[in-house]
Symmetry: D5
Subunit: 94 residues, 10 copies
């Protein structure tokens, strides 16, 4: 089951740089682990913004929320989720 997930990152300027860098490194590792597992299907940077457009593949709403809320940068992100369905004109089945 696919979901469009849009994440906007807002790390407060009061967070010290070492902590922020550590969080970003962990975020990258977890992101790549989820990508390799096929859960985080697509990940793109929005041009000009500290934001991404992603497509997740989750078995349920609960699994999706567990993945998102476990991200190291989760407390600093505004996330919107759009559920996606098979489009009748799509040549690929989802």
């Amino acid at each position: 089951m696919l979901f469009l997930v849009q994440m906007q990152v807002n790390i407060p300027s009061t967070l010290d740089k070492a902590t922020a860098d550590a969080l970003k490194k962990e975020e990258k590792e977890m992101s790549q682990k989820l990508q390799r597992e096929g859960k985080w299907r697509d990940l793109w940077r929005v041009v000009g913004q500290y934001a991404n457009v992603s497509v997740f593949n989750a078995d349920s709403n609960d699994e999706l929320h567990q993945m998102l809320s476990a991200l190291p940068l989760y407390p600093f992100m505004n996330i919107t989720v759009t559920p996606l369905a098979q489009h009748p004109s799509a040549i690929a089945a989802i």
Copy 2:
């Protein structure tokens, strides 16, 4: 070069059904042609809406506009385009 393209379809109720059906059929054919050519990379239905979330692969802004404006339903769609770039944590190159 990838672009997130979100299309909302608003066919006016004054359009006669035969014309609308013909436009939808042509739209589907053109959409599938572009998908087979790899230009219309992804196409999903937004749950509960006559709308789609798409990812296009275009060589330029001009090529993208030509593809979108040539769609049979183009006069009846609100379209927003978000340019996408390589994300540093993505394991796949775009």
Copy 3:
């Protein structure tokens, strides 16, 4: 899997009354069928609006979209869908 579904109905004044009444009758029947099946878990009227707040129980995004897009009034509704997950403080499991 639960989803908050908010539907706003906008029947155009140009639709003749007999057609509108027939659509509303079919809508009611399909709605009650889905409620009896446990798919349309909750259905409330928003005070002062031709709108409802609903909770759907669907096995997948696709099933939810099929239910919503099959509603007789679907062409005349603006629908927003919010995926819901288990809340850690909820005493009931979803």
Copy 4:
């Protein structure tokens, strides 16, 4: 009398962790007490957000405000309230 209540939690990063944890613990206890009493009828997590969708059952606007404003996290929440009424197609009476 039912109300859709949507709560968005924004705990400031300046609040020390011990205080925040204590508030969250008290919030959970009060929430579960209200759920057991049948006042907080439904409680779901919004996927990807530190937010919930709830349905409250209150005898009056005043009772609802007293319950909401007594929540330990109340000073850190943006809350919107939508009054709900019986829907003519609902098979259950509210």
Copy 5:
């Protein structure tokens, strides 16, 4: 129980004048009946708009919805409802 009710009237220009005038006359009569009964507590015109700000006194959400949806101009109004509670600084009890 008090509710702030804001009504914006949008009578379509396609409605013939006689029908519109009849609806407005019935609206006025029903409005004044509800005012005399103490249900429609306050009614003011918004300066410069075909809109009103009202305060309703209803025993329940259901009673409020029944009053609003029975108004002759209801199909042509956008209505928002804000539930009100006793303010701790108010010298009058509601």
Copy 6:
């Protein structure tokens, strides 16, 4: 002359509690003085929010601004003002 006045209170968490409590006490006193004088005609709490819906009776825009800007919590409030006029269907003159 009546005005709908909507006040949203946002006391910054950095304000020390003693100062905030003193301001709230003064606010209540000034509010009740204005209510007794008939200037602050109505005062209600918005359910679920640190906000109020009020109706002021002022002789002029200047008098209204002087009353609002003299409130102890004025620096911490977002205020919107809607001028009200006699409604042709109102049974009471304003």
Copy 7:
């Protein structure tokens, strides 16, 4: 007493040209009469829009509403009204 009044004109394309022209002519006459009386203090065109920015001088909210609602184009305008007060730095008294 001064008010900033912003008017956006939306004459429906279904209105026949003769009627529209007659309304515009009457609107101009009434506007100029109010300007000569000192009630419509300022009238400017918003660049690029069928809209104006105006300043009205009215003795009361009721007088302002009577002037605005008597304008021939009133049924086709969206109007917003902002009450103005003396500014402490203004060298002119209003």
Copy 8:
């Protein structure tokens, strides 16, 4: 003096095709005349929309409004105007 001008075209579907085509042809001619005169400095299509982003060079607000309101498609466009000034980091003087 430069202005960012953004135009969104909304030709109603009820306008007959011959009239619309004639208007578009005249619009193109007037646009190109203004471009050749250096008044319409830049003209670009917004990808995916019947809209343009333009930069106008006008001697005054009045001249700009006269140019815009004389465009054949003016009655069918939503236009926003942003006044531009010399940027201290720009290497070109405007």
Copy 9:
């Protein structure tokens, strides 16, 4: 050339009172100097807000930006600028 200028002041609570008072005093002096020169044509307080509605008379966009950006409170203001033109119904030339 006239411009509607709307300024919303947001002085951060972290700014010490002496600095803020000095800035406000300088702002008042510069404002009154510009008013005496005929550049700041009108200045009104928005009722209930730390905001003003102003009309500026500037020879160019650049002159307007220089005046606004030189205001002592400029770093703490949100400013919107609307270019104004002669209205065909105005009895006064601008």
Copy 10:
């Protein structure tokens, strides 16, 4: 390939002045370097705002993002990007 880029600068008041000044100086240098290279085609100040309207000429979305995200003030800017295409009425090819 052209893009409309709108940048709003929000330097937090907690950033010390020396750091802010250094960043602004570097920003100016990088901006002028990109302008000389023809990449930053246009740069204008929005009147009354710490914001600019720019037109960038980039070979790809990735190149545009690399230029924008390398700007010294990038962490303090809200940036929106609108892809532009050749307009059929433009006399200049882009």
